[in-house]
Symmetry: C2
Subunit: 87 residues, 2 copies
Amino acid sequence: MDYEKMSDLMKVLGHPVRLQMVEGLIKHECNVNKIMEKLGIPQSTTSQHLALLKNKGIVSLRKEGVKTCYCVTNDLVKRLMAVLTKG
Amino acid sequence: MDYEKMSDLMKVLGHPVRLQMVEGLIKHECNVNKIMEKLGIPQSTTSQHLALLKNKGIVSLRKEGVKTCYCVTNDLVKRLMAVLTKG
DNA sequence: CCGGCTCATTGTAATATTGTAATATTTGGA
DNA sequence: TCCAAATATTACAATATTACAATGAGCCGG
């Protein structure tokens, strides 16, 4: 087991906003505006968290005109979230 | 789902040393000296990480004379680690 | 009671994370 | 081309985390 890599993954999930983002983006993809409205946080903060999730390979994005739609594409993260929501 | 609580849990696992500690302490309980030798880190550092794991309800301890034996008692964490080691 | 062994706590410097405002970029329509 | 909406990036202050040495505290054998 690669502790650096795995702990890095856990660290990204170790923030309430990102955890909520990930939970929502597993259910359905969503653009930045919707996410920031849903979570009630500023646009730059939303964008930064999403950038982090993207860089860690947790979410992927799809451009739809001027909008950017994010969704979770990481299977390991999906399995981890399943454990969290059941427990 | 309590995002604060769950992200807090993930954050604790978001450190390579603690992740390795938890993985080991699921398999068998261990005292501080053994842990620090195994991981090759100073005693105070070891003790601090263990204190954090204890405060977050991830590990429990048992005094055995002058030694302190730690082990993982948190089922949710055990399930999360199972996902990490399989994936 | 003194010694050493085991572990916990504290102090502190270095580093990382976070939140926000300000600014830049990209895109599509008039 | 010019504008506005949507998103990304940057800069920076505030805060949190981290590692380690030093010190403190508890337990036992002699």
